[in-house]
Structures are given as C-alpha cells and as structure tokens.
C-alpha cells in the first residue's frame, strides 16, 4: 500500500450557528518520498484535512466514522490516524513519523522558551537520548537548515530571529525526529519572495536527503508547480481534481482548476488583465446543492445544482468531478 491513504474523509465543526462541513468525502493516496500539493482558496478545507492526519483540529471537530486515514509506519504497521488513541501510536503520528510546519513560525514557537529548549524537548519525546545528545542533534539540524552560528541561535528566543531564520528553525525542529511524512501548511506564504525561493529549495533538498514524503499546502499554484509531484485541488471541502502536477497544470479538467490557472499572472503578456475566479466562496453555512462549485462556474449546465458529479477518470492517475467530463468520457 501507499505511505498514506486517505479514504472518504469527512469533517464537521460544531458552531453556534450549527454544523459546518469543512471536509466532505476526500480521498487521495500519497506514495513514500512523493510530494502532494494541496491547493485551494482559504476555507477550502485543505488545512483541516492536513491537521486531521495528526488529530490537531480543535475540540468542536468531529470526523465521520467511515473516514479512514491509513498510515504505514516504518515498522510496517498500518495505523488509522483518524482513530488512534493509544499513546505509543499517538507519538508516531504526532512528531514521530509525521511532522508539521506552520505558516507563522513566530506563533508556532512558545514565546518564552528558547528555541533550543523546545527542540531538545521534542527530540527527547521521540528518541531515547540524553540531554546532551539531543542538544547535539538540535544544533546539527539548525546548521543543516542553513542557520549560521547555530550554537548561539540555539540559546535564543524566537522573537530574536528574522522571518526566514524562524521558518528554517521550524523546519529544523520538524525534521529533527527524521519523520517519514512532513506536512507543510503554507510554509512560505509569510516570507518575501527571495527568501521564499531559498526555503523551497531547502525543503526539496532535505526531502531528498531524508527520503520523506511531503504534503505541501498552498493557495499558490505557482509554488505548487515547483515542489509537488501530484496535486489535489480542493474547493469547499471537496477534492475537485487530482493528478500529476504536470498534467493538471498543462491540461486542467475541472472548471475551477482552469479558473485558478487563468488567474495566474503571465510573464508573456504584461498587459493581459488578471482574470480572477468570479464570485466569492459561499459561506460554509450555505453549502450549495449539487456540485459545490456551480454558484461560480462559468460552464454550468442545468443539472449542476441538482446532482453531485461522479469521479471521471481522465487517465490512470488523473481524475476530476464534473458533469462536462462525464459526457466526454
């Protein structure tokens, strides 16, 4: 089996206004060493999907019982991450074999503890090493991600580092336990473009070195194109299109993917007007009937608001959900 198999994942939030569906029947596979790009606007459920792999969603979240998140551990055991309760298994999915880095490194370090303290703490949770050994690992990781003078940085607080440095430290911390899967939740969005490129380069390098798989979440197809092998396009909690990054970008099948690609600025024609996907994401409380995208779709047909389109297989590993494709297939 693949390293990670997500099957029919549905997640709801209980709020004052009622139940909100954040993720609705999401399925995808991720092979070891591969990078999956999760693309979508804010509110599309990409972060919620990723967090559910590590059971990190807030207390008002409920994962529907038929959902499965199967993860193959280094020892060959298969865990359903959505149902793990056992402390040992929990350690595996939280920081042991799956690590996560967040959009805001500043906010993801505890403000009043040194970076070193937090790294040593994390390493010693997962590895049976002495404090000194853990410190050595931490300093080595810090210098590996390109932080100069790591011994000194080790003793500093997060507010004393620059933006790029913080994200590097965050990566160092996440990789210090040698995970087999790294979840990166918009890791470069908060950085400026030059540093963004550096960090992306570093992440790709480290991925090869450690041989890990990666789920890379971004709203930016441009970034996804650089790092991902396969891409899942999400809209309102559904994966509307899935496939190898090349074929999705060269031949987008779903009107939403087409819209996203069309909205990217091109370097060929400076005068071309930007073409945003029309309309706004509907409120999560007013989930559209039928195909969730029909309220904004430029190619909608009569039945779009009545029935949910089935999956249409475009090639062996490329599929999408749209009535227009059914007619073609």
């Amino acid at each position: 089996m693949a390293l990670l198999e997500v099957k029919d994942l549905s997640i709801q939030f209980a709020t004052d206004e009622g139940m909100i569906t954040a993720v609705d029947g999401v399925s995808f596979n991720l092979e070891a060493g591969q990078t999956l790009g999760l693309v979508g606007e804010s509110g599309s459920g990409k972060s919620v999907t990723a967090k559910s792999i590590m059971q990190l969603n807030a207390g008002n979240t409920s994962v529907s019982p038929q959902s499965q998140i199967l993860f193959q551990t280094a020892a060959g055991k298969i865990l359903d991450a959505s149902k793990v309760k056992d402390k040992q298994d929990m350690m595996i999915i939280r920081g042991g074999e799956i690590s996560m880095i967040f959009q805001e490194p500043m906010a993801s370090f505890a403000p009043a503890m040194t970076i070193g303290t937090q790294m040593v703490e994390a390493i010693r949770i997962h590895k049976d090493v002495s404090k000194q050994e853990a410190k050595d690992i931490a300093i080595h990781m810090l210098s590996r991600v390109g932080i100069s003078d790591a011994t000194h940085r080790f003793k500093q607080y997060v507010f004393e580092l620059s933006g790029g440095m913080r994200q590097r430290a965050m990566i160092a911390m996440a990789l210090s336990t040698k995970p087999r899967l790294l979840i990166a939740d918009e890791p470069t969005t908060a950085l400026d473009v030059t540093i963004q490129a550096q960090v992306l380069e570093l992440m790709k390098e480290l991925q090869h070195e450690f041989g890990m798989a990666m789920i890379f979440i971004s709203h930016d197809l441009g970034v996804i194109r650089q790092v991902a092998d396969v891409v899942a396009v999400m809209y309102l909690g559904k994966v509307v299109e899935f496939g190898p990054v090349r074929s999705v970008i060269d031949a987008p099948a779903h009107p939403y993917t087409q819209g996203l690609l069309a909205s990217l600025p091109t370097l060929k024609d400076f005068d071309a007007p930007l073409k945003p996907v029309p309309g706004d994401i509907p409120s999560p409380l007013e989930r559209p009937s039928g195909c969730v995208f029909h309220t904004r779709c430029l190619k909608r047909v009569d039945r779009c608001d009545k029935a949910v389109p089935e999956r249409s297989q475009l090639s062996a590993d490329h599929w999408a959900h749209c009535f227009l494709l059914e007619d073609v297939a």
Binding site: M54, L56, K87, R94, S99, E104, A110, E121, I125, F159
Partner: protein, 322 residues
C-alpha cells in the same frame, strides 16, 4: 519609575487632604473647646496654625512632609492626638497589611487552580457554575458576603464569629498563643476580603488559559508530540501566568477597598477600622492621609516586585522587546 509614582501619589493625597474643608488648627481648637475650655477665638486658631506651620504655603508643607517620609519614614503628627502618626498606626497597619496579603494569597490559591481547571472543561456544567460564581464576585461585594455570613452565623451559632482575636487575647501582649488565636480566627476575614478578587481572578485565569490554549504554538507543541501535564504547564499555563502576576497589584487595591467596610462589619477593630475611626470619628486628616499614603506605597511596592517577577518569567520583557 516607582519613585516618581510615589511622589505624585504623595502630592495627590496631600493635596486632597488640603482641599477638605477646615484645617487641623481649627479642628484641634474646636476639639479642645468641647473638652471644657473657654470659647475659641480667631486668634486662638491663628496661633495654633502658626505653631503647626499651617501658615506656610502648600508646596512648602508638602515638600517638608514628603522629605520626612522619604528620608526618615516619619509620617507627621496626628492632628488631635498630638503624637506621631507612626506611633498611632504601628502594628495596626502591619496587621491590616498582613490580613490583606493573607486574603490575596488565599484568593490566588483558590482562583488559579480552579480557573485553570475550569478552562480545561470549557462549557461543561461545572465550568458554568464556576463562571456564575465569578459573576457573583462582581454583583455581591465583599461586605454583602460578610453580612450574609454574619446573618447565617448569628442565626445558627448565636455567635457572630467576628473579631480577629478571642476576648481573652484582645488586649494581651503578643505571644505564641495570641498568634495562634489570630491565625485560627483570621482565615474567615481573609476569605471574605479575598472574595471579590478570587471570583474575578477566576474568570481572568479561565479566559487567559482559554486564549492561550487556542494559540498556534500550543497546536505546534501538540504536533511535536507533547501532551498531558507537560504540555499544559510548560506552554499555556506559563504564558497565562504573566498577566495574572501583572494583576496582583490591582487585586491588592481591590482588597484595600474592601478592607475598611468588611472590617467594620466583622468588627475587626485592629485592622481597617482604624481608618474609619480616624476619618469618621476624630476628623484627623493627618492620620487619614498617612493611611492612604501607606496603602498606596504597599501597592506601588508590590507592583515593583511583580514587574521584576515578570521580567524573570518572560524573556521578551527582560530583553526590552515589549
């Protein structure tokens, strides 16, 4: 900084005492008059004013008073009793302060654990009960709690359970037995005095903990595999502690506000009652001013200590980032 605040406070207190109608000389002479002396004249008052130095301008008197306070710790002379204010207040002030600090301690010992516990069981029935209690903390001022307890103990025990000492110790010199007696009776006033700040602090701790729990660094720590007590104490609890420490000074202020009233109800003659007495009965503005100044000094001093403490627990303050 603290010194500047103290200077300003001394000015405010001294100034307000100055605004009060009538001055010490008038009052003293009038008081002597009630003791059976012949009727007073303008001249008597003038003579007394000069003797007391009241003829000098306000700023000079303020300066002299402040100088005495800061250099010698001398708080001036009582208007009516003709003795130094230090003499009059002495251990009454220390008992008041002790009682207040005890109340502060009791309220934090209750509020912090309960508030933290409450935040981990958000919106459960127990949590709602605690929240309601903390709202009562505002609507039910300390003196009403004191009244309620008195009403209750009068009805059921026939004893008001008031006073800081049992009768046999009231005028006895300090001894181990008296101290024990004090401790055995002081817990109830301490609890009543600390009531409001307990209730409000409970709410604060709960809100702070809930806030911190929702922050990304807690999620990030969970993602690294931290859980249970280690996660709780090293991450959200530690962060929430800062604002709690910061509020100690305000709570001391709150308890000082409650002290004179609660002391009256519970007839704690030794403590806050001295304030009421010197204010309402003897019209002694020197004593009153000194008491308020001393209370404020305690608060400023406590604020100073908490600032130092904050620097220790929060590196951002220590390194001058905030």
């Amino acid at each position: 900084m603290a010194v500047i605040t103290l200077f300003l406070v001394s000015f405010i207190v001294f100034g307000l005492m100055e605004l009060v109608p009538g001055n010490c000389a008038e009052r003293y002479v009038a008081y002597k008059n009630t003791q059976g002396r012949a009727s007073i004249s303008e001249a008597d008052i003038r003579a007394e004013e000069i003797r007391m130095g009241l003829d000098k301008p306000f700023v000079v008197r303020w300066f002299n008073w402040t100088k005495d306070v800061f250099t010698k710790g001398y708080l001036g002379e009582s208007c009516l009793r003709r003795t130094s204010v230090n003499q009059i207040l002495q251990d009454k002030f220390w008992i008041s302060l002790g009682l207040t600090l005890a109340a502060l301690l009791v309220s934090y010992l209750i509020a912090i654990p309960v508030g933290m516990f409450s935040s981990t069981i958000r919106n459960s029935a127990t949590d709602t009960t605690f929240r309601f209690i903390s709202y009562l903390g505002l609507a039910l001022p300390n003196f009403m709690v004191a009244l309620g307890i008195m009403l209750f103990s009068t009805l059921y025990f026939g004893d008001t359970l008031t006073g800081l000492f049992s009768n046999e110790f009231r005028d006895a010199p300090w001894s181990t037995a008296k101290l024990l007696n004090f401790l055995s009776r002081a817990w109830m006033p301490a609890l009543i005095l600390g009531w409001s700040s307990t209730a409000l602090q409970l709410q604060t701790v709960r809100a702070l903990m809930s806030d911190e729990n929702d922050k990304l660094y807690v999620t990030a720590a969970k993602a690294r595999g931290l859980s249970g007590a280690k996660l709780f104490w090293r991450y959200p609890a530690r962060q929430a502690l800062g604002p709690v420490i910061n509020s100690i000074g305000f709570d001391l202020n709150r308890i000082f506000n409650a002290l004179p009233i609660v002391a009256t109800i519970l007839t704690l003659n030794e403590a806050g009652f001295i304030l009421l007495e010197s204010l309402a009965i003897s019209n002694d503005q020197e004593v009153a001013g000194a008491i308020i100044f001393l209370l404020t000094v305690s608060i400023v001093f406590l604020n100073f200590i908490t600032d130092v403490l904050l620097g220790i627990i929060d590196p951002r303050i220590r390194k001058g980032m905030i």
